[in-house]
């Protein structure tokens, strides 16, 4: 850590991790409900628990992104953050918004729109918080009059994420039209601008961890982000299957969804070549695990498993089955959870006043492998359940209820692997909070004013 104000990332990471832990509680609850019967249905039905599960994810991952940006931007622009106070106010507002949403859902205060359940007043709070964040980051870069491609990609991703949230504020009487624009937010987030954020963070971490040549890394960063959008924008079409839009979205979705893995495999190659060129010499081996892991798991979960059901002739049968959460869980974990945990692991020694070597604890390594293994198992559980469901329900014509009963063994597997994953999350959280945060002293501040040394 070269700049005192980078420390503001710590509370962001802390809040993110606590909400991550809470998300797991609801995830396990949902898996139990799949098995049934459900004795708490009257006060915590599936739909409430699921809204909380997915919203906690969105809130904590975005908190992680913002914390990561507050950590990365000062280093890249070689300056202190414009207003640390604003960053704290923003975090408090964001956390309160998230908790209010979660509690609201328990009392049926919801917009009832998948992923965008936040009631309108909370949506306004989200917009305000995003504006505060962008103002703070924007002023930081503006005052420094210096920016790198890596941080520009990261910040542009976050700015576009805020802009793409705006369609969520408008409602339509025509359900098809409202779904159409819901995907402008959700798809263009997770298969567009969030990937831009991921790519920016990946570039930052690879440059720091491998010592790879910045010029080279940033050159290819543009190619990756370009591929993300070339495939991803029209790839939105795979969400427009069977919802009442013109038929030409079907071939467009098939072709551009098939191109989407290109950028994701590109990211994995990017990490591989950076490492091959420069070696695994960095002392923070755990951060290397998460960084490389993110690039590889993204290619698997988002790339390969996405492609598994985006071809229209396949999707016709799998649409609306458990094949979707198979892809959803592995994609979100690989692309966004792992990259945020990578930044946290990379920054942790600096935030706790330790040496880089200290990050590689055995608990930390356990956290990595339990999460990767658990998520791989959950992906298999959802996948096998989804394939069986597609065959029995969609092809054989067995009823929904009978089919769900027949795939109970897969739900047992889901619950078991979910516990393994949760154990990994718990290990990460314990490992992270084991060392108390050490705010930088005055000396560090002065050092921050000076020109930093290149790593």
């Amino acid at each position: 850590m070269r700049f005192r104000s980078q420390f503001v990332a710590y509370p962001y990471f802390a809040v993110a991790l606590i909400l991550f832990g809470l998300q797991m509680v609801f995830g396990l609850l949902l898996a139990v409900k799949y098995l049934g019967p459900d004795p708490i249905m009257s006060w915590m039905p599936f739909n409430t628990a699921k809204a909380i599960h997915t919203n906690l994810l969105i809130v904590w991952v975005l908190a992680g992104f913002m914390g990561a940006a507050y950590y990365v931007v000062p280093e890249e622009s070689r300056t202190e953050i414009y207003s640390v106070k604003l960053a704290y106010i923003q975090l408090i507002a964001w956390t309160l918004m998230g908790l209010t949403a979660v509690i609201g859902y328990m009392f049926e205060w919801t917009a009832g729109n998948k992923f965008l359940e936040q009631p309108f007043p909370l949506k306004i709070v989200i917009v305000i918080v995003m504006l505060m964040f962008l103002y703070n980051i924007g002023m930081t870069i503006y005052k420094a009059k210096r920016w790198t491609t890596t941080e520009a990609v990261l910040v542009a991703g976050l700015a576009l994420a805020a802009i793409l949230y705006l369609p969520a504020l408008i409602t339509y009487n025509n359900y098809t039209v409202s779904i159409y624009y819901r995907w402008w937010t959700i798809h263009l987030w997770v298969e567009g601008v969030w990937e831009m954020i991921q790519a920016g963070l990946l570039a930052y971490l690879l440059i720091r961890l491998s010592g790879a040549d910045r010029e080279m890394m940033e050159k290819w960063l543009y190619v990756i982000v370009g591929l993300v959008f070339i495939a991803g924008i029209l790839g939105t079409a795979h969400h427009y299957y069977w919802i009442g839009v013109p038929a030409y979205w079907l071939p467009v979705g098939g072709i551009f969804s098939a191109l989407e893995p290109l950028a994701l495999f590109g990211m994995a190659m990017y990490a591989y070549f950076a490492m091959r060129r420069s070696g695994f010499g960095h002392p923070n081996q755990l951060a290397l695990h998460w960084t490389i892991g993110s690039a590889i798991f993204t290619a698997f979960g988002a790339g390969l498993l996405g492609l598994a059901h985006t071809w229209p002739a396949v999707n016709k049968w799998t649409h609306g089955t458990l094949i979707t959460p198979m892809h959803g869980h592995s994609a979100f974990f690989g692309a966004y959870v792992m990259i945020v945990l990578a930044v946290m692991t990379y920054a942790k020694p600096h935030l706790t006043g330790k040496k880089d070597e200290s990050a590689e604890t055995s608990l930390g390594i356990w956290a990595f492998w339990l999460q990767v293994g658990g998520m791989f198992g959950m992906t298999l559980a959802f996948g096998t359940a989804g394939i069986t469901q597609t065959y029995l329900e969609r092809i054989m014509g067995l009823g929904y209820i009978e089919t769900q009963f027949k795939i109970q063994p897969h739900f047992l597997m889901l619950l078991a692997t979910g516990f393994i994953f949760t154990a990994g999350v718990a290990a990460f959280i314990i490992d992270f909070f084991r060392d108390p945060p050490v705010p930088p002293s005055g000396g560090a501040h002065e050092r921050g004013e000076a020109e930093p040394v290149t790593p």
Partner: protein
């Protein structure tokens, strides 16, 4: 390639495909009214959509295949279940499914009768959206033990015999007899099982409880199809308040010949 070139690739590529996307969006808007029957979006449909959102239905069910995967897809539900059934179900779902048998229940949505009518109107509008014929075959809520035949089209009839044609009518998506009536013995899905109906019809008429005007098994089956309320078979999920859950509009959905074939087929189930 230089960094300047890759930046150009990123900017031009993104801008180009964003423009194509926006052009396709404009064209889609041109077609939305026709594809979605926008003229059928009445005040009830709009209010029903609000009920759908307010009750967070999407986080258990799917609609147009989108949502959660914990409860049945409702895209075509109003084609499989009549309004009377859906109303009674939404008033008290616990009367229809049990923890022991089905393992998965719907909580009481706590809707008043107006809201129920509105959400049914909304779902009925959804069922008519032109969505490229999805699902390719009907997705059933419940099927009994054998559902393999359900949902084939009438052209799948194995011959031109009335019975074969009637079986095809029974299994075709509209009116979707198979969605509520099993042909397996002892399996009541929503309506009574059709197994043995040819023989059972005579027993029912001989029982003394019979209130309709049929004179023999064949006219009884015909009467049950065309006037479901003429005689109500006792059963919790079959009727409420003297009204059968079976839709009374079958006559509008089938030609007289198709009804003849259907009766001929059902008469063979003994």
């Amino acid at each position: 390639m230089t960094k300047r070139q890759t930046r150009l690739f990123f900017i031009v590529g993104t801008a180009l495909f964003a423009l194509i996307f926006i052009a396709m969006t404009v064209d889609s808007h041109r077609q939305f009214p026709e594809l979605t029957n926008a003229h059928l979006i009445t005040e009830d449909v709009t209010e029903g959509k609000h009920v759908w959102h307010r009750k967070n239905c999407i986080n258990c069910h799917t609609l147009l295949g989108e949502g959660a995967y914990f409860a049945p897809d409702l895209t075509k539900i109003t084609q499989h279940r009549g309004e009377a059934y859906l109303t009674a179900f939404l008033q008290d779902p616990s009367q229809f499914y049990s923890d022991e048998v089905h393992r998965r229940l719907m909580p009481d949505p706590e809707l008043d009768d107006t809201e129920i009518a509105q959400v049914i109107a909304f779902l009925d509008w959804v069922s008519k959206i032109d969505n490229q014929g999805w699902p390719p075959r009907p997705i059933l809520v419940t099927s009994g033990p054998i559902g393999g035949m359900a949902g084939r089209s009438a052209t799948d009839a194995v011959s031109n015999e009335p019975v074969a044609l009637g079986q095809a009518v029974f299994n075709q998506p509209v009116p979707g007899c198979f969605a509520c009536h099993s042909t397996a013995p002892g399996t009541a899905m929503v309506g009574p099982s059709m197994a043995g109906i040819g023989g059972r019809a005579e027993e029912i008429m001989a029982s003394g409880d019979y209130t309709g005007s049929a004179t023999d098994a064949e006219s009884y089956i015909r009467e049950s199809i065309l006037e479901p309320n003429a005689y109500l078979v006792p059963g919790q999920t079959f009727s409420a308040g003297g009204v059968s859950f079976m839709p009374a509009n079958t006559e509008d959905l089938l030609t007289p010949e198709e009804i003849d074939h259907l009766v001929a087929y059902l008469m063979t189930l003994r």
